[in-house]
């Protein structure tokens, strides 16, 4: 590879990444550069070059973007966006999707033990932190949810494998489905059964309180 060539492509990648607010993939970069340009090598060189600077090249999934270095936070308070407060339900739902992806609404409800309101998923979708995946080939063919590159970008993650504590959770078996989890398997029947149980129990309680 020509030394000067790489230098020029590195400068070009630098310019393109600098200009863009959105992370760009290697493929997108390649499309903007002469065919056969050493984009991967340029990205690596650039990442190294900026490692100790006030801005760094961050990798999110297969995309790259310049972001200010984390230790610069104190100088950047002025830039902080008014943050939309996320509900506890939204945060937990996001975490469940992140750690269990691809996962279904039924599984999220199973884990949280409570129905997921439509607003919660809508909020996460509109933040572009989650996206819809393929339908799962189980009864009812439920849609799955996945996190996005935006999610990785927002939380400063390179990939979903870097999620905090994910390795330990996996080793503890907490990311696996238990055979007794009922989500997506027998939704309708189960509900009826529980409804009946609840009614019975209600009657029982009323009897007791009457005594």
């Amino acid at each position: 590879m020509d030394e000067r060539d790489l230098d020029q492509i590195e400068r070009a990648v630098e310019a393109i990444l600098f200009a863009s607010a959105e992370p760009l993939s290697q493929r997108e970069l390649e499309r903007r550069l002469p065919e056969g340009a050493p984009v991967k090598a340029a990205l690596e060189a650039l990442t190294d070059r900026y490692e100790m600077r006030g801005v760094n090249v961050r990798k999110m999934a297969d995309t790259y973007a310049f972001r200010t270095s984390s230790d610069m936070e104190l100088y950047l308070r002025n830039e902080t966006n008014a943050e939309r407060k996320l509900s506890r339900a939204a945060i937990e739902t996001l975490a469940i999707i992140a750690y269990h992806q691809p996962t279904t609404r039924g599984e999220i409800e199973e884990i949280r033990g409570v129905a997921v309101s439509k607003g919660t998923l809508d909020q996460l979708l509109s933040l572009e932190w989650i996206r819809l995946g393929k339908r799962r080939e189980t009864p009812g063919r439920p849609i799955t949810f996945l996190t996005t590159t935006h999610f990785l970008d927002h939380f400063g993650l390179t990939s979903a494998k870097d999620l905090p504590g994910i390795k330990e959770l996996r080793e503890a078996g907490l990311l696996e489905r238990s055979p007794l989890d009922s989500a997506d398997d027998e939704g309708q029947n189960e509900e009826n059964e529980f409804d009946n149980l609840a009614t019975e129990f209600d009657d029982e309680l009323i009897d007791e309180s009457d005594v």
Partner: protein
């Protein structure tokens, strides 16, 4: 799972008076409430007693009932399920019964609680991370990255020449159009003849209706005759005039219908 004489977890008088305890709005569903109870029972979720936990939960629900606090259906569903589990745990296992054993059900509940706790923990770790727009930032001012779609329209000399010859060929037919031009349209003849209605009463030759300017050239005359004949037929059909031809190829005469007017 057989600690039948374990100290029962019950809400104290003070707790019952404290509205916070029964404020189920603070809980994200029954599993969340169970998790909160388990936490007061043991720090390590793997050591909690499901039986004890079930009793606590049932006490809680009873207390809520006593205070006439309406509980959401899912809390009651959980209470029903825990009452069922409790009875199974207390009775010796029935070998003929199918499905998961009481111990398996209890273990699953413990797993659910641990998993929920783990996800809670993960969520707070996630939110504690440096975040874009809060702790680190994208480029404040972005420059236009343009996407230009260049469509190159191609045409070669051959296209140009065939196009022109196509146009010119079309033009060549224009004289042909005018050759067909001196045709008196039936509509025109009809309109003219209508204007004459009421001005003549006796039989008149069809030829006399042909306008002056259509008489000079035989071609134009023929066309005008045909148009007038067609117009006359239309007027007959409408009942305005009568038409007569005494012999084959003889003159055609028109007369106003008697009832006209």
């Amino acid at each position: 799972m057989s600690e039948t004489n374990a100290p029962s977890y019950a809400l104290s008088e003070a707790q019952l008076e404290n509205p916070f305890i029964l404020d189920i709005d603070g809980y994200e569903g029954p599993l969340d409430l169970l998790l909160a109870m388990a936490r007061t029972q043991k720090l390590d979720l793997r050591e909690i007693s499901i039986l004890e936990l079930s009793e606590s939960y049932l006490d809680f629900v009873k207390a809520a009932k006593g205070l006439r606090i309406e509980l959401a259906a899912d809390y009651l569903v959980m209470a029903a399920w825990l009452a069922f589990l409790k009875s199974r745990l207390l009775l010796p296992p029935d070998p003929t019964e199918e499905g998961p054993s009481a111990d398996e059900l209890a273990a699953h509940l413990a797993f659910q609680l641990e998993r929920l706790a783990a996800m809670r923990d993960a969520a707070s770790k996630l939110m504690a991370r440096d975040r874009l727009g809060i702790n680190f930032f994208p480029k404040g001012q972005t420059e236009e990255i343009e996407n230009i779609r260049n469509v190159t329209y191609t045409a070669n000399l051959f296209d140009l020449l065939t196009a022109y010859s196509r146009v010119k060929t079309r033009e060549d037919f224009v004289p042909l159009h005018y050759a067909r031009g001196p045709v008196l349209a039936m509509e025109e003849a009809l309109e003219r003849m209508r204007g004459l209605l009421g001005s003549w009463h006796n039989w008149k030759d069809l030829a006399s209706f042909v306008p002056e300017e259509w008489r000079d050239e035989p071609e134009k005359f023929r066309s005008a005759m045909a148009a007038n004949f067609a117009a006359a037929l239309q007027l007959v059909k409408e009942g305005h005039i009568n038409i007569e031809q005494k012999e084959t190829f003889g003159n055609i005469s028109l007369a106003q219908a008697e009832n006209y007017g």
